[in-house]
């Protein structure tokens, strides 16, 4: 059961943005949870050695946080039916990422709402682009 109702939203509406300041511990937690221990995410020295200037966050963790932003808005994670992004540039420990979304379409027959979604860092650099999500609201 979604908290936000189909009849109460309109094209052009933004959804509440989510700000997250990344810490290395979050990258380690994601590595453990996803079992992706690629050293570019967990080993600062390795990240420096290969020219990344340190560790970078898993792209899928940024996607997952953007998903969280959508789920916290709908109130029911089962409402998410389709979700895609392009990994534009990496997020790093110390970055404050803003996850955002905006309604671009509504389909009355299915009660499905389409959103443009994305993420950027504190310098305005896009982390996730070409994001599209479809949610089915009550």
């Amino acid at each position: 059961m979604t908290d936000v109702k189909y009849d109460d939203v309109k094209v052009g509406d933004g959804i509440p943005a989510l700000d997250v300041t990344l810490e290395q511990m979050m990258l380690w937690m994601y590595a453990g949870a996803s079992l992706d221990f690629n050293p570019i995410h967990v080993d600062k020295e390795f990240g420096e050695k290969v020219g990344l200037g340190g560790t970078i966050a898993h792209g899928l963790s940024s996607m997952a946080r953007l998903g969280r932003c959508i789920n916290e808005w709908t109130g029911d994670p089962g409402a998410l039916k389709r979700f895609g992004v392009r990994f534009a540039s990496p997020a790093r420990p110390g970055d404050t990422c803003t996850f955002w979304g905006r309604i671009t379409g509504k389909d009355d027959a299915s009660k499905r709402v389409t959103l443009e979604v994305g993420a950027r860092n504190q310098d305005g650099v896009d982390i996730l682009t070409r994001g599209v999500a479809v949610v089915e609201l009550d």
Binding site: L60, A64, G67
Partner: protein, 146 residues
């Protein structure tokens, strides 16, 4: 460049059993606190009749087959230059604790874009009842070509 004859190549399936605490651990790692994942009683009294997995948990069960492509001895992907360019998930049915998910990955397209090789990979995840639950569509880029 990767030989286009590999378009359509399908990899052997991976089987993954969804663990209640494992999916909660994933939710915690991304800061998701929803009772749909974390509160067993809430889940059982919801429309889903149980907790459900965070949609993004598909990154774990759906994408298992991608590793078989990365380390395919026939293709010899230049893993050091491989970038995950895009990802899309289509969610058809909720995934719940105890579900046994079988995911099958396949190369659906290979193309050259400038100096890069662009590979489209699709993985279909089916539960223990044979119901298609999730389709993942990934774009991988080998920078500088393979």
């Amino acid at each position: 460049m990767i030989d286009h004859k590999f378009i359509g190549k399908e990899y052997p399936p991976d089987v993954y059993e969804i663990g209640r605490e494992k999916m909660r651990e994933y939710a915690r790692a991304i800061g998701e606190t929803s009772p749909y994942y974390h509160d067993t009683e809430f889940g059982r009294s919801s429309a889903y009749a149980d907790n459900i997995a965070p949609p993004s948990f598909a990154a774990v069960y759906n994408l298992l087959g991608a590793a078989k492509f990365f380390f395919d001895p026939e293709i010899q992907v230049n893993f050091a230059m491989l970038v995950h360019g895009e990802q899309e998930f289509e969610y058809l049915e909720p995934v719940k604790p105890g579900d046994v998910i079988t995911s099958t990955g396949k190369i659906v397209d290979i193309a050259e874009k400038g100096n890069n090789d662009v590979i489209k990979f699709e993985a279909r995840s089916v539960n223990q009842e044979g119901v298609l639950v999730t389709i993942g569509r990934a774009t991988f880029v080998v920078r500088g070509g393979n």
